[in-house]
């Protein structure tokens, strides 16, 4: 396989990524305000903005799911048969020895095994939990009638999810610097283009 500069992120993916990033960061700030950690604005303002952003994220998520299924790109997130341990060994040992990435990004395969499992967990676990508990709190007065779950359980799950997202954010931002150059990955997410292995015709699910 040869390396070539190829468009690996479509316009939709980039737009999705960055609007999601902005929404999640703002949700974090307003959310911890609602949680009472600090008061940049009144509870009412923070709550209203948080609720609005939450709705926006849900809509975006629905669009993204639709896009992934119509384009078949959802396969990017399938866990692979390849070993995650290889990827972990790279980040803990190989990277300091100047070893090459164990799984090179290709024109067709954008995510390494560790990314696949992480993003999948985000998409099918964290996001649905946050959205479900969030919506249940917005409609708590109606929800409690049919499903009398204590508010504190919803708040508990929502807060745990929030802290996992804070941690994910820190690690995720740092990980973008582990490409061939420090800014390679971020640049790709902005322009869409990156120098990758050419494997036209390869199978997404198999890697």
């Amino acid at each position: 396989m040869t390396k070539k500069k190829a468009k690996i992120y479509t316009r939709f993916e980039r737009l999705w990524h960055w609007s999601q990033a902005i929404l999640i960061i703002s949700l974090g700030f307003t959310g911890f305000c609602v949680h009472g950690v600090y008061r940049l604005q009144t509870f009412e303002e923070a709550y209203k903005i948080h609720r609005l952003l939450g709705w926006a994220l849900v809509v975006l998520f629905i669009f993204a799911v639709f896009w992934h299924f119509t384009t078949g790109q959802w396969k990017q997130y399938l866990p692979t048969r390849q070993k995650i341990s290889k990827q972990i060994r790279y980040y803990t040992v190989g990277i300091f020895r100047g070893e090459p990435h164990p799984y090179e990004k290709t024109t067709r395969i954008k995510l390494n095994p560790l990314q696949r499992i992480t993003y999948l967990a985000f998409l099918i676990l964290i996001f649905p939990i946050m959205a479900t508990t969030g919506l249940m709190m917005i409609f708590y007065d109606q929800v409690r009638v049919v499903f009398p779950i204590p508010l504190e359980w919803l708040a508990f799950l929502h807060t745990v999810g929030a802290f996992l997202l804070v941690t994910f954010f820190i690690v995720h931002v740092y990980m973008t610097t582990t490409g061939h150059t420090v800014f390679e990955n971020i640049k790709a997410m902005i322009t869409g283009y990156e120098e990758v292995m050419d494997d036209e015709g390869g199978d997404l699910a198999v890697l």
């Binding site: 949680h35 009472g36 009412e44 300091f96 020895r97 100047g98 802290f163 996992l164 820190i170 610097t177």
Partner: protein, 397 residues
């Protein structure tokens, strides 16, 4: 009597709410005679039952204007709108009976069995037989803001709409400690407002205005300790004189604002009764009355004897509490509690069990673990970056 516009109707000071029906000397031996109320004269001058009429009795509970309730005092005869939106001439100019509609002379709105939660809502077109609830007029969705309507399952309207009580001209009695009475040298002491802080006859007092209520679950049921009933102090060493019922799992309960009147009273540790002191002397020779002899033991002995109750001869001072539900002096909408009053650390409902108020309550260990995890990630990332930098330099050689 409620309709008296002569202003002559007067409760007899020790008559438990009843006027003097026959001439009485009060205080005994003083020579001051209280003429009986001329009921027929009053009956002839019946006016509309004004706020002052009902207030003649109800503003003066506990011996003085505003003393007892906290939300009922003479300010309500002519209140500004900030004090009471309904009864203010600048507001709705309602009289008591607009809410306390009498049906067959039974005035609804009893303190012993209140209707804290009215699931029926508006009484028009169809009445539920109890017009004395906020919902009877305002319905179950009184707000344009949906999130406020979401709160009324849990919170009584009064909780948000009576941000403070005793907002009128009169202070209300918050604390009364009988145990310190008897110091004639101190006499009567007053604070900068002219409110009594000490009275050698009654002990230590505390009067307050614009008081923040205390909040409790309440289903309307109140049980009074009857005179002569055996009671024991609770874990906090307090005897609650009127125990209110309710809790988070009771569908008829809501969180309600209260004036909590605290005090210290005589208690017989052997018969386990609150003691009734003999205060007013029977006659000039009577030294057993506390306000004559200033001897508690004597006063309790004669007081209990007069009440026909046993007294072991031992007394101690016990802390007492009384709960006064706050339901009048509804403030204008914009002066109701704001979200931040509750949804902030240390919010108003901190002491109320069985609720989770976002912003006020949290799981401290979740927060600790959460921030801990984020911190570990941050440190991890920095160390990793540093090692990469070092190894990169080394590998470059």
């Amino acid at each position: 009597m409620c309709h008296d516009t002569t202003g002559k109707y007067k409760k007899f000071p020790a008559g438990a709410g009843h006027p003097a029906y026959e001439p009485k000397e009060f205080p005994p031996g003083s020579g001051k005679i209280w003429e009986p109320v001329d009921l027929s004269e009053i009956a002839q001058t019946v006016g509309a039952a004004s706020r002052a009429n009902c207030g003649a009795c109800h503003f003066n509970g506990g011996g003085g204007d505003g003393t007892k309730h906290g939300d009922l005092d003479s300010t309500l005869v002519n209140p500004p709108k900030e004090v009471d939106v309904h009864m203010s001439p600048d507001g709705e100019n309602m009289v008591c009976a607009d809410c306390h509609k009498t049906e067959a002379h039974q005035i609804p709105g009893s303190r012993y069995a209140m209707s804290v939660k009215d699931a029926h809502g508006k009484d028009l077109p169809e009445s539920d037989g109890n017009p004395t609830t906020c919902e009877s007029c305002h319905g179950l969705k009184p707000h344009t803001k949906q999130k406020l309507n979401d709160h009324i399952d849990t919170l009584a309207c009064q909780t948000c709409h009576i941000p403070e009580f005793a907002r009128g001209d009169k202070p209300t009695l918050m604390f009364w400690d009988w145990s310190t009475a008897g110091d004639k040298k101190r006499g009567v002491e007053k604070d900068e407002h002219g409110w009594t802080t000490y009275n050698f006859k009654k002990g230590t007092e505390k009067w307050e205005k614009n008081v923040t209520p205390e909040y409790r679950w309440f289903n309307g049921q109140t049980d009074y300790v009857a005179v002569g009933e055996k009671v024991e102090p609770n874990e906090e060493g307090v005897i609650v004189i009127n125990q209110i019922s309710g809790g988070p799992d009771d569908p008829n309960s809501r969180i309600y604002p209260f004036k909590v009147f605290r005090g210290k009273q005589g208690y017989d540790p052997e018969t386990k009764q609150l003691l009734v002191p003999h205060l007013f002397p029977f006659n000039k020779e009577d030294k057993s009355a506390y306000w004559k002899g200033f001897n508690w033991d004597e006063a309790f002995k004669v007081g209990m004897e007069t009440a026909g109750l046993p007294y072991s001869g031992k007394y101690e001072w016990v802390k007492t509490e009384m709960y006064w539900p706050q339901t009048h002096m509804v403030a204008p909408g914009e002066q109701s509690l704001h979200c931040d009053d509750c949804h902030s650390p240390g919010g108003r409902l901190t002491q109320v069990a069985g609720i989770y108020v976002p912003g006020q309550d949290r799981f401290p260990w979740v927060d600790a673990l959460g921030w801990g995890l984020a911190l570990v990630a941050l440190i991890g990332v920095f160390v990793h970056a540093l090692l990469r930098l070092i190894s990169h330099k080394r590998n470059a050689h």
